[in-house]
Symmetry: C2
Subunit: 176 residues, 2 copies
DNA sequence: GTCTATACGTTGATAGAC
DNA sequence: GTCTATCAACGTATAGAC
């Protein structure tokens, strides 16, 4: 007896995302995901060809948005670093849960050939913040700014005061 | 025929640490660790009662040092924030590989009942950097500083210029 | 689109010999 | 300390009915 579902794939992603975040990707079995939804393991395989594909389905929207943001700013050169920090921060805040999953389970991401892309992001971001020929010191400052913001995105306290102060701190770290 | 080993437990830890870091805790099997050492899986169990205990053995030295640093600074109140940032940074730099393992595989850490302790660290560090009654804005600044330094510790470029700039950036993020 | 049933490899872990 | 042999549990995945 099939259940009434508006969008089964979306529901699977939602449940899986929550379990993956709480217990980790590897420690969550497909049987567990299926039981939560009241379907069987085999039904999952109808919607997603593998566990990795399920993970990819969860993460892809965030990946696409970041890729879009980067391409956008690279096209318009002479971008404002302060504005970029704000935009980047807002993207990962909007995808807070998914972003937490990615950060908390980097090992799982590596299996999706996504790690390479993420490392490339870092270099592109550095280039935008401190230029293409940055010194180690400038790289360090950019790393503190971006890494600091990412850590802030993982905390719950998303009040405006918190967001603005985080951006101020990140910009201050750049030392401009 | 037993191999000549100075310290078998230490060698197991070293090999496991490298594999865990590269492939993730869950994706690394004990068989794989054993094969690298030229022994069998069963031999591993003589030295470590479980896979989780092996992980704990790898991580424990860093955990102990951070715990020690925090206790030390809490005893001497009125500690210098700048000095604390430097000391904390130096500890995680010294344990760079292990620290990377912990950060890259937070999901595995949760199984060791270590996540709780790490979250407690965060609060204790915030208290030292911005006081016990900090505003959300001050928490945000402390988060950028610490999160930024941790990200810096994960990169390879450990030249002095990089280290000093990272500390400057973290201190600037505090906004004092 | 979802189910039952099933297959197969791998894993963490144990027992007991040497 | 290390081995061989073995285990149950779990993972992914497929075939075929409805």
């Amino acid at each position: 007896m099939p259940r009434t579902r508006v969008d089964t794939r979306a529901e699977i992603r939602a449940v899986a995302a929550e379990l993956f975040t709480r217990q980790g990707f590897e420690k969550t079995s497909l049987r567990e995901v299926a039981e939560r939804l009241g379907i069987t393991k085999a039904a999952l395989y109808y919607h997603f060809p593998s566990k990795a594909d399920l993970m990819r389905g969860i993460v892809q929207p965030l990946v696409d948005e970041i890729e879009e943001l980067l391409a956008d700013r690279e096209a318009a050169d002479g971008a404002d670093p302060r504005q970029f920090l704000a935009d980047y921060f807002d993207v990962i805040l909007r995808y807070r849960q998914v972003f937490e999953l990615m950060i908390r389970d980097v090992a799982a991401l590596a299996q999706l050939d996504l790690l390479h892309q993420m490392l490339a992001w870092r270099d592109r971001i550095y280039r935008m913040l401190v230029g293409p020929d940055a010194s180690p010191a400038q790289i360090a400052r950019a790393t503190v700014a971006i890494g600091g913001l990412q850590d802030c995105a993982l905390t719950e306290a998303a009040v405006d005061e918190f967001r603005d102060a985080a951006l101020d701190a990140a910009y201050a770290a750049l030392g401009r």
